[in-house]
Symmetry: C2
Subunit: 122 residues, 2 copies
DNA sequence: TCGATAGTTCGACTATTATCGAACATTCGT
DNA sequence: ACGAATGTTCGATAATAGTCGAACTATCGA
């Protein structure tokens, strides 16, 4: 009995073109808290490695989330040596879905919190 | 052996208040083609029954989708006799997430289609 | 060349979601 | 009171998605 060996295939990233974006895929990508957080972070810093953005999550989980974000067209990943730089595809997104990402990013992460003022207004 | 009888509980709709909306839930609700279509339809007609909006889908499936839309805060359902009227919660959504729904609805359903012009541009 | 670092892939498991028929609740018209 | 119409609930099944350890690829630095 010969023990079979798993083959690992390292494909280059495939980023969809802007005309391949769909709203459904974008919304699905943004429906996960971890991914929404990543997108918000990228909106602030312009570029970041995958490692900078994990919230203590394992690498394989992060890799999964980045793939979903790439497939939706939200994120572009460029291999720069051993490090991979992620950026938001702002221009492409705005071409394909004008104003959409801006409206999304305009919503503050904490907008769900109840502030002291609001509590008093009862 | 006594045959047990399933009990059916008909609860009234529970609509979340605007401050309970979350972006994640809204995006998840919109990530399904059937639900996105429902929202787009409601944006055009102001109010519609569940039956008007099925695309040949069974009633139980539609009921499921409407529940997700309600839970996300996108749709309000009011029982008007035997019929249930659905409306978009435009005001609440705009209070909670200003400009978001407008930006979403501004994206045409067909914007993913390949037009004759584009095909020729190869 | 060896080790460290960054991130992907694989694979297994779990959890959430979608689909849909059948039974049911509710209201309306007659 | 009965039947038709509208939509929900239940329950089972199928499909999709998230989690994460282990093995791996690729690159960099010493």
């Amino acid at each position: 009995m010969v023990k079979s060996r798993t083959i690992y295939l390292m494909r280059p990233y495939k980023h969809p073109t802007a005309d391949q974006f769909t709203l459904e895929r974008i919304f699905h990508a943004l429906s996960d808290p971890a991914r929404l957080e990543i997108v918000r972070h990228l909106a602030r810093v312009e570029a970041a490695t995958c490692g900078e953005l994990d919230g203590g999550r394992p690498k394989s989980s992060m890799s999964h989330h980045f793939r979903i974000l790439r497939d939706a067209g939200l994120v572009h990943t460029r291999a720069a040596g051993a490090i991979h730089q992620n950026t938001l595809r702002l221009a492409d997104l705005n071409t394909r879905f004008p104003g959409l990402l801006k409206a999304i990013l305009a919503q503050a992460p904490e907008s769900g919190m109840v502030t002291a003022e609001r509590k008093h207004s009862l």
